[in-house]
Amino acid sequence: MIDALAEWFTARGWSPFPFQREVWHAYLAGESGLVHAATGTGKTLAAWLGPIAEWIAEGRPVSSAPRRQSYVPLRVLWITPLRALAADTAAALQAPLASLAPEWSIETRTGDTSSAARARQSRRLPTALLTTPESLTILLSRPESLELMRDLRLIVVDEWHELMGTKRGVQTELALARLRAIRPTLRTWGLSATLGNLGEALDTLLGTGAATRSRIVKGETPKQITVDALLPPVIERFPWAGHLGRGMAEPVAAALEHAESSIVFTNTRRQTEEWYRSLLDIRPDWAGLIALHHGSLDRSTREWVEQALRDGRLKCVVATSSLDLGVDFSPVDRVVQIGSSKSVGRLVQRAGRSGHRPGAESRITCAPTNVLELIDLAAARDAVEADEVESRRPVERPLDVLVQHLVTVALGTGFRAEDLRAEVQRTRAFAKLTDEEWQWAIEFVASGGGALGAYPEYARVVRQEDGDYRVESDTIAKRHRLSIGTIVSDGQIAVTYQRGKPIGMVDEVFISRLKPGDRFTLAGKTLEFIRVREMQAWVRRASTSQVTVTSPWSGTRLPISGALAARIRARLDEASRGVFRGPEMNALKPVLAVQQRWSRIPAADEVLIERVRTREGHHLYVYPFEGRLVHEGLAALVAYRLSRFKPISFSIATNDYGFSLLSAEPAPIEANVMFSVEDLADDLLAALNATEMARRQFREIARVAGLIFPGIPRSGKTARQLQASSNLFFDVFQKHDPGNLLVAQAYREVMERQLESARLARTLERLSRARVAITDPPRTTPFGFPLLVDRTRDRVSSETLADRVRRMQLALERAAG
């Protein structure tokens, strides 16, 4: 039967890769597995053709319904992390069907699917269904859908590396466990980019109770990847964070000049808008030939850009990670990365967008946005050449996701506590679930939570007389289906022209600060704000391109990965010994010379601390070079520990290289206490309480656990009566139910994920052994300048200045009093 597949390849002048044959054979032998390879090397066909061959071998069975065409019932579920990918993937899967399996049907089911299509799917599912984790979970909440899955053979999880390490990944694990309970011989194949922990990725995908054997299949040898850099024309002494960007517009444009089709990747939506404008400013004749793409643009705009890129009609698209995945853009022959890629995996992924054909070479050209980023580039190339890739850590026991799942299953088939517990514990995420946690979760959905006692008025899930747990209320069922999912974003509001044409989405908080007449950029256009009505922001094209307010999004900045951070420290260690390898480090030499003269370049076994006095006060700069998240935790910890020596207030700034503490009085430097590994857990908790980190994390948990709801249109009075922010819940739980496990989870998540406490502990371990080099530079050094500038900007931002000053004044008074 493999022959039929091979013939299909031959007919196209191709021949199957050995790894594709391996996956087909393994699948037909009943195995599950994980295929890892760079994008564009044939993973899709490896997973897809196995079940077709199986069906051919079974004699091409079809079902027939009375008075209807015969059809092949659902055999394959294909899970994709981005609904934007579903349509493209469906087209790719469709290609071989005409000659191999014309009786098969393929449909998608995502948040974008029409209600008519969804209604049809509730009666009959296609042979292969493409869906997202959220839409799959909604199917599980409908008993009739589970009935239609009796012939399911294979679940493919596409881009598994994107899902693993997130709560959506856990949601997927739980859904897989559910389906395996219904179909024990079900096979699961994950498709993934290369990860540092493939074994763990496979285990997480399959869980512990999988009835099938499994294997990891390595795809085609990685494509040749070239990483080069555009060197800034003038090396400024002071790397002004983000500001080298403008000066780099010309070199970037020049690099794009000879490309047929290119993608310029940025790290934030805001940068995307800025770079699109900069490029048009210096190359006005490119109008119509370049476009921009990010997640906040209207869907029709995004789809148009994707299609134009695929057809080779665009010279260049400026994009965020919204174009990182999936979609095949064969015409793209040039990829530019603006700023640091922050991780090796991401650099490789983005490089793979060029030469999107097996065997072709990939090249990525990096344009630094501040001169220090040249170190990142050199370090990233080191890592690529050493074939080093980051790992993704799976999420452990997120009780908010479990609580959501319990309601989902109660809605679907209903459950018996002991059976569902066994099923849930077959996932890797909940393998170590404790009795206490399970009991708590059940009580949370059935009676309102253990410590709270039973509320007679409370009934999300109701235990039936036969012992089954079910959802009885239609209101609760409806609300639950609408709120399924684990992606939590700030409230988003649609931006629309007066005539009704949608442009995109921006943060609600941003809009609430606007006054009529304010101008901002979205989709590369300058827009003038008119008013908010009917939950939409109405705008018109502005008569001038001058904007009055910036950044409609509160973007989270990605931290550099541990692997990249280690490479950066190695490059600095070389520089401290006077070794400058490669064009980037040589370009950076004058800047590093200033750093050396005024202060020091830290060697591998050193940690550098700088004390600088400015008009603002006393700055303490610390440079662990470990990435922003670790520095956030470390800065809070160090500030807390130093504040115990004397009463003092710090203002904190962090970036990927280090952090700064600013105070009115000189800070006591007690290096052995600052970096001590003793009492880490207690001190970190105290530092956490001093900041708002746990409270912020609780937002996501409250939403996933169904305490707060995303805006549900036309829900009327009930929704108004249910208005409460996660902050309120956090306060009420802390005060009246301190044992609440969701609050405990907030602390755990901040510790483990946000602050990467394991990495933090390793960093402290390193710092506590390091030689502490304290310098007193005459003024802010090149290393310190981005921190100085960053913090300054945070205080003196344009539009809300008056507001900010008022608040800060009050804050100062309180501190003084």
Binding site: Y455, A653, T691, D731, V732, R807, E813
Partner: protein
């Protein structure tokens, strides 16, 4: 620590317990207690722990021990919703009412009260806004009123502060404008709405048991 403020020729004392005291009339002003809000949530399948109602009543009792109150004026949203009229919540309120026979209690009805209904039979009277007692006009919604300086609730006002370490705090506050004042929401489980005061307005935030005035530069 409480704080005195002169407004419309009268003295109001602002308590960090989120209530104001009109000494001349021996009247305690309380806005937006939203009794039964937690119970409303529970009835719709969202687990909110017990204790918010009894907590609020205890806070009121503490105030009543400190000042010689003749009357409590609730500036609207006494009850949160009809769904929240659980026997337990209404019972707690009635019981609390009975322990203060010498104090008159009046609700100036607010938007929530219209849906949730009054609390008849326990000695808490309800009237429609405005309740004019010169120089004040007591209302729920802080619209301007020709008949006097408006004292209202409804907004759940919160003032934003930025502190060291780039922290952001939003604190419950009293907000006095030229023609109206807004009191903080008394209820615990109520949330804050960020205010944008006009120049000349006075804002008093409740910061850890103290009422602190925000001074304009």
């Amino acid at each position: 620590m409480s704080l005195e403020v002169q407004v419309a020729g009268e003295t109001l004392v602002l308590f960090p317990e989120r209530a104001a005291w009109w000494a001349a009339a021996r009247t305690l002003l309380v806005a937006d207690p939203h009794f039964g809000k937690a119970s409303t949530f529970r009835s719709l399948g969202i687990p909110v722990p017990r204790g918010t109602t009894s907590d609020a009543l205890e806070r009121l009792d503490a105030l009543l021990r400190r000042v010689d109150v003749r009357r409590i004026l609730f500036l609207g949203d006494f009850l949160h919703a009809r769904r929240g009229r659980s026997a337990r919540t209404l019972g707690a309120v009635a019981q609390w009412r009975a322990t203060h026979p010498g104090i008159a209690m009046t609700i100036v009805r607010g938007n929530h009260d219209r849906e949730a209904g009054d609390v008849p039979g326990v000695g808490i009277e309800a009237v429609d806004a405005p309740l004019v007692e010169t120089p004040f006009a007591f209302r729920h919604v802080p619209a301007t009123d020709e008949s006097g300086y408006v004292v209202a609730g409804h907004l759940h006002p919160g003032a934003d502060l930025v502190g060291a370490g780039r922290q952001h705090v939003r604190l419950s506050c009293f907000w006095f404008g030229s023609r109206s004042a807004v009191l903080p929401a008394f209820g615990d489980f109520t949330g804050l709405w960020p205010i944008t005061p006009d120049p000349g307005d006075r804002v008093f935030v409740i910061a850890g048991g103290e009422v602190v005035e925000r001074v304009a530069r």
